[in-house]
C-alpha cells in the first residue's frame, strides 16, 4: 500500500552513467593491479563521461517538452540536458588533462606511490560531475541543497587531494569551511522559504506566492536573500568570491580547471532556473540584487587581477569578473538574458578550462607555480599551447577571436533590453580594465626578451620548457577547448537555437 513514485530511469540516465562509472573507478582502486590502475580508471572515467554526453544528447532530443520526474523532484527537460552535456564535456576534457599527471600523485621523489589515489581521483571527478548534473536538474530546495553538498564535498576532497602540498590542504580547508558556511546560509534560506510558502518545490513556491500574495513576505524575502548569497558563493561572485583565488591557486591545476568551468556552469544554470521558476514574483528584488552583485564582481575581479603575478590567480580573478558578466545576463531576468547566459557559458567554460589546462602544462614542465615571469617565452617553445592561450585570453577580453565576443555582446544586449544602460557601461569599462592583465599574459608569453626565459625551479635552473614531455592528451583537451571557443563565434546561430529551445 506504499505507492513508490515511478522512477524515469532514462530521465536520470546521464547521472546514473556517471555514478556507475564512479563506482567502477572506485572498484579499480581495490581490484585492478597498481600498474594498470591509472589507465583503467582513466578509461572508465572517459567512457563514463562519453556515455553521459551521449545519453544527455539523447535526452535533449527526446524531451522536447520539459516535465518533472520522480515525484516532481527533478526536471527532465532540454535545459537540464544541455547543462549535462556541457558538464560531461568538461569532465571528459578534465579526464584527458588528468591522465598524464593525476592529482594526488604526491611528489615524484617517491616513485613507489606514484599511483596513490589515482582511481579515487577519477571516482571523485565522476561523482562531482554527477552531483552537478543533479544540481542543474533539481526541482526542489531539498534536492538542490543535497546535490550541492554532493558535488561540493567531492570538490573539497579533490582540492585537498595533493595533501603533501601544504597549499592543497589549505585550499581544501578554506573551501570546505567557507563552502559549508555558504551552504548553511543557503540551507537556512531554504528553511525560511519553506516556512513562508509551506513547500520546497520550485513550482510550489511560485504557486504559493501567487496564491497567497506572499511577494513581500518577510520570510520569503529573507530566504531569497540567503539563497542568493549561497549561490553567489558557488558562482564565486563578489563579495562571496574571496575563497576563489586562494582555492584556485592552491588546488591542483587540473582540479582548478574543472572547478572554474563546471562549477560556474552548474551554479549559474541553477540560479537562473530557481529565480525563474520559484521566485518570478520577486524579480524586482533579485534582478537588482544580481545587478549589484554583478557590478561588485566586475569591479573587484578586474581590479584585483591587475596586480597579480601568479597566472592561476589572474585567471581566478578573471573568473570572478566573468561571473559578473554572466550575472548581468541573469539580472536581465528575460528570455534574452537566459539565452545570453546559456550562450555565454559555452565559450566561457571552454576558455576557462583551456586556459587553466595550458597553465597546467607549463606547471608540469617547470615544476613550480606559473607566474608571469616564468611564463616568458612559453609561446615560442610550445607554439600550439601558446596560440591556444592567446586565443583564450583574447576571447576572455571579448576580442573577436572567440565566442566570448558574441557572449559579451549578448549580455550587453540583454542588459539594454532590460533598460540598464548603466550596466552596459559598467561592463564596457570592466572589459577595458581587464584588457591590461589579459594582454599582460600574452606579453609574458611572447614579448619578453630571451634572457628572461631562465627560471629557477626546485630542480635547479632550467631553461623554460627545455624539452617538455609531449602530453598528447592534454593538447587534445586544449584543442577541444580551442575548437569550442572559436567555433562558438561562427556557430552562434545553432547554439542560440539550442538555448532557445531549452
Amino acid at each position: 500500500m506504499l505507492h513508490t513514485p515511478h522512477v524515469d530511469w532514462f530521465g536520470l540516465g546521464p547521472i546514473f552513467a556517471l555514478i556507475g562509472a564512479s563506482f567502477l573507478a572506485l572498484l579499480c582502486a581495490v581490484l585492478v593491479p597498481r600498474a594498470a590502475r591509472r589507465v583503467a580508471a582513466a578509461a572508465i572515467s572517459g567512457l563514463g563521461f562519453a556515455a553521459g554526453i551521449a545519453l544527455a544528447i539523447w535526452l535533449y532530443v527526446d524531451s522536447a517538452s520539459g516535465r518533472t520526474i520522480v515525484a516532481g523532484t527533478f526536471y527532465r527537460d532540454r535545459w537540464t540536458a544541455l547543462g549535462q552535456i556541457i558538464l560531461c564535456a568538461i569532465g571528459l576534457a578534465t579526464t584527458l588533462l588528468a591522465v598524464e599527471h593525476v592529482p594526488g600523485w604526491g611528489s615524484d621523489t617517491e616513485p613507489d606511490r606514484r599511483d596513490d589515489h589515482v582511481a579515487e581521483f577519477f571516482a571523485l571527478l565522476l561523482a562531482s560531475t554527477a552531483g552537478m548534473a543533479f544540481f542543474v536538474g533539481s526541482a526542489n530546495l531539498m534536492v538542490l541543497f543535497l546535490s550541492l553538498e554532493w558535488f561540493s564535498i567531492a570538490l573539497y576532497v579533490m582540492c585537498a587531494i595533493d595533501y603533501d602540498l601544504e597549499g592543497s590542504l589549505e585550499a581544501g580547508l578554506k573551501y570546505l569551511i567557507v563552502g559549508s558556511f555558504g551552504a548553511a546560509a543557503l540551507l537556512f534560506g531554504s528553511a525560511l522559504v519553506y516556512g513562508a510558502t509551506g513547500t520546497i518545490s520550485f513550482h510550489g513556491i511560485a504557486a504559493a506566492v501567487a496564491a497567497h500574495g506572499l511577494t513581500g513576505d518577510w520570510f520569503l524575502v529573507l530566504g531569497l536573500a540567503l539563497i542568493i548569497a549561497g549561490l553567489g558563493f558557488k558562482m564565486s561572485a563578489a563579495p562571496f568570491h574571496m575563497w576563489t583565488p586562494d582555492v584556485y591557486e592552491g588546488a591542483p591545476t587540473t582540479v582548478t580547471a574543472f572547478m572554474s568551468s563546471a562549477t560556474k556552469v552548474a551554479a549559474l544554470l541553477l540560479a537562473l532556473r530557481v529565480m525563474g521558476t520559484a521566485f518570478p514574483h520577486d524579480s524586482h528584488l533579485w534582478t537588482w540584487g544580481f545587478a549589484a552583485i554583478a557590478t561588485a564582481s566586475l569591479v573587484v575581479g578586474n581590479l584585483a587581477a591587475l596586480v597579480q603575478t601568479n597566472v592561476k590567480r589572474i585567471l581566478a580573478y578573471s573568473s570572478v569578473s566573468h561571473a559578473g558578466f554572466m550575472l548581468i545576463a541573469l539580472s536581465a531576468g528575460s528570455a534574452l538574458g537566459a539565452r545570453a547566459l546559456m550562450y555565454y557559458l559555452i565559450p566561457y567554460s571552454a576558455m576557462a578550462f583551456g586556459s587553466f589546462a595550458v597553465v597546467a602544462a607549463r606547471e608540469r614542465e617547470l615544476g613550480v607555480p606559473v607566474t608571469l615571469d616564468n611564463l616568458a617565452g612559453f609561446g615560442w617553445e610550445r607554439p600550439f599551447l601558446g596560440v591556444a592561450m592567446w586565443f583564450f585570453v583574447f576571447g576572455f577580453a571579448g576580442l573577436p577571436l572567440g565566442g566570448g565576443f558574441v557572449g559579451k555582446f549578448y549580455v550587453f544586449a540583454a542588459a539594454y533590453r532590460h533598460g540598464w544602460v548603466w550596466l552596459v557601461i559598467v561592463g564596457v569599462l570592466a572589459t577595458l580594465v581587464s584588457l591590461y592583465y589579459y594582454l599582460g599574459i600574452v606579453r609574458a608569453m611572447y614579448m619578453r626578451p630571451a634572457e628572461e626565459l631562465r627560471v629557477r625551479t626546485d630542480a635547479g635552473v632550467v631553461v623554460g620548457g627545455g624539452s617538455p614531455a609531449r602530453e598528447t592528451l592534454l593538447q587534445i583537451a586544449v584543442g577541444g577547448a580551442l575548437a569550442v571557443s572559436v567555433g562558438s563565434l561562427f556557430a552562434v546561430g545553432p547554439l542560440i537555437e539550442l538555448a532557445r529551445h531549452a
Partner: protein, 485 residues
Amino acid sequence: MNATALTSILIWLPVAGALVIWMLPLSRYATGSLAVLVSLLEVGFWIDQATRFDFSRSGLQLAQQTGWISDLHVSYHVGVYGFSLWLVGLTVVAMAACTGYGFWVGRDRARAYFGLMLLLTGATVGVFEAQDLLLFYAFFEAMLIPLYILIGVWGGPRRLDATIKFVIYTMAGSLLMLAAIVVYGLQVGTFDLVSGPSSPSRWLFLGFMFAFVIKAPLFPFHGWLPDAYRQAPPEVAAVLSGVIAKAGLYGMLRIAIPKFPDPTSFYRTSVLALAAAALVYGSLLAFRSRDFRGVVAYSSLAQSGLIALGLFAGTDLGFNGAVLQMVAHGLVSVSLFLIAGTIERRTTTGEFQLLGGMAKGRPALATLLMTVGIISLAVPGSANFAGEFLILAGVFQRAWWWAAIGAGAIVLAAMYTLRLISAVLHEARGSTVDDAALDLRPGELALVVPLVGLLLALSAWPAGITRHSFPIGKAPTATVKGQFR
C-alpha cells in the same frame, strides 16, 4: 568566378593563408614567399573586383549576406561602395608592400610574423567591406590583435609600453562604440548598416565618434600615436598610419555621418574645431620633433585632421577630397615609413642629429625620399595637393576661416617636410652615415618604386578617384544623406 564571392575572398583568403602558414612547418623563405604571394593575389583579386564594379550605379555592390545571430538580426553582410573600394585597394597594396618589406628584411620567427601580417590584411579589408555594425566592430577589433603582437614582438626597445598604450587607448574608444552599437541596434531593430535607419541620438553619435577620433586620431586623442609609431617595426608603423588610421576616418564617413545626420550637424563645429586643432597642432609638433618617425607620426596626425575637416565640411568637394586624400596620404605615409625603415637599417637611427648628407652617392634613396616628401607636402600638381585643394575648397563653403587655417597649415607642412628632407639627405654627413650605408638595394626599390609610381599616376589623374568614389552624376552629399542606398 562569381563576382560577389570576390568580396568575401578578399577578406578570408589572407586568413586562410595565415592558417596555412601556421599549420605547415615551412622554412622562413618559403613562408615569406607564400605570404607575399598571397598578398599579391589579394591585389589581383582587388583589381578584378574594381573591374567588376559599376561606378555609375548607386547603392551597395558585390554584396553577400548570410545570417549570423538571427534573433538579434545580426548578419554576415559584406559589400563595397566606390569609396570603400578605393580603401580596400589602398589596404591590399599597402599590405603587399609591407609584407614584402618584412620578407626583405628577413623578420625572425617568420611563420608567426607572416601569419599575423596576413591576418591583419584580412581584418582590415573586412573593416572596409563590412555592412553590419557588429561585423564591422568585430573586424575593427580584430585588427588590434595582430597589431598588438606585431608591435610587441618585433618592435623597438620601448615596445611594451607602446603596445599597452596603443591597445588600451583604442579599445577604450571601440568599447564605447560597442555599447553604442548595442543600443543603436536594439533601438532600430537591426544591426544592418544598409537597411538601418538614421538615429537622432547624440549620445550614440558620440559613442561612435569616440572610437573613430581615437583611431584616426584627432587632437587631443592621439596619446598613443607617437610611441606606437616610433616603437613599431617600420612596416607595421606604415600600416598603422597608412591604413589603420584610415579605418577611423572611414567609420566617420560610413557610419557616424550618414547614420546620425542631426547630431552631425549639431556637433559639426566642434568636430571641425578638433580637426583643425589636430591639423595645426600636428604640424607644429612635426616641425619640432627630432626624428624621422616623429615627423611622419605628427604629420599623419595633421593629415587625419585635414581629412576630418573634409568629411565634416559636409560639402561635395569635401567628401570627394577626403576620399582622395585618404588614399593619397595612405600611400605617402606607407612609402615614408618604409624609407625610414631602410634608413634605420643602414644607420641604426632616425635621429636628425645623427643623420644627414645621405643624398651624396645615394641617388635612388635621395630621389625617392625627395619625391615622396614633395608629394606629401602637397606641392601643386600632386595627388595630395588635389586632395587638400578639394577638402579646403569644400570646407571653405562651410566657413572661410577653416580654409584659412588649412592654408596656413599647408605652409607649415612645407616647413617640416623640407626640414625632414634636408636633415636626412643634405648638408654635412651625419655621424652614423658611413660608406657601409649603401644606396637602396633592388629589393627595396621593388617595394618603394611601385608605391611612388602609384602616387605619380594618381597625381596625373586624381579625377580617377574623385569621379569614382561616389555614384557618378550624383552629389556625394545626396548619397551620404541617402545613407548610400
